[in-house]
Amino acid sequence: MDVFAIDHVAEIERIGGWMRESLVSPLRRRGLVIAMSGGIDSSVCAALAVRALGAERVFGLLLPERDSNDRSGELGELLAGHLGIRFRRHDIAPALAALGCYSERDEAIRHVFPEYAEDWKSKLVIAGGIAGGINFYKLVVQSPDGELHESRLPLADYLRIVAATNHKQRIRKTLEYFHADRLNYAVIGTPNRLEYDQGFFVKNGDGSADLKPIAHLYKTQVYAMARALGLPEPICATVPTTDTYSLAQGQDEFYFALPYAQMDLALWCVENGVSEEGLARALSMPAESARRIFTDIEAKRRAAAYLHARPLLFGTGSGR
């Protein structure tokens, strides 16, 4: 049985109807803005928006910065052309530089690797949890001659690097809302179910949006939806990356314990009451490994509560 099988035609229609109704009320906006990373999630969201509203009511944005992969921009332009939507390319590197995004990050990196320079590359890699340890982050840097070095990040440097790079998602969102305000449109958020559930987004960055049309779909389903929507093959075949650090970085390196297809299955098991032994059988892994994955999913859910929380209001016991 394929637990991720869905009726794509019906689902596309269902999401499209919800988008139209949401724009009428409560959003009261005339169209949708979508930032296109070239990845599968934003591409599917853009295509769903076009199916729902028509190309003339969807405005796309390409928002590269210094560490973006050139391929991301190429795929974004390919998608915009395929969908026939208006789009604008805005290099956000100067804004990020003015905010200190790169300099703050690089100072923190140099605290660990003093020789780190502008022509070096870097990324963060998660370690510990899936191996039965406590989660922590390693900083990996690559010198111009290609040599890799890695070291566990002290807390203050880890927090500073993350805080600096979070500028990227927040500046992108600022521009999305500029265009949404200019056009009287609403902003689409593009998390899939795995990202939304596990908190793989930046608060007030890519986590901010007016509507999130695929937050109920597992990543496996998003890939299938891309094909059902007839998106170009290079987009359907994209591999999930963070596209945030200068060294190539998979999402499973940075945040998730496993590649997305296995994470989807693990999350599905948690949501449907399947035991650790059941997941272990499905993924051909020891039960102890499955138990650690379940523990990691629950831990990330607790951490995500802060990301999902609205501002708390004194005296009401709730947020708004």
Binding site: G128, G129, G133, F136, K138, P154, L159, T295, R302, A303
Partner: protein, 89 residues
């Protein structure tokens, strides 16, 4: 109670519980199971342990057996100090 246990308990009460709740958990209570610490919290705890007891927590020592309870930390710090003193002799 050992001074390590008492100092770590006071650190948790002050830093993570903001002195709003009694830090009356058992010495063998798992910080993870009690949801006292998240992953960032553990990094803070590791930094506290390293700075307070002048030890270096190695990557492969970042495991619950060493850090997930007052008892575990007490034993871990004692082992590290023992290794340090043995090496210095």
């Amino acid at each position: 109670m050992s001074s390590v246990k008492q100092e770590v308990r006071e650190y948790i009460a002050s830093n993570f519980l903001m002195d709003t709740a009694a830090a009356d958990f058992a010495d063998d209570a798992s910080f993870m199971d009690a949801h006292l610490l998240d992953s960032t919290g553990f990094l803070e705890l590791v930094q506290f342990v390293e700075e307070s007891y002048s030890i270096r927590v190695l990557d492969d020592e970042m495991i619950p057996d060493n850090l997930d309870s007052l008892d575990a930390i007490d034993a871990y710090v004692a082992r590290k100090r023992g290794v340090g003193s043995a090496a210095a002799e």
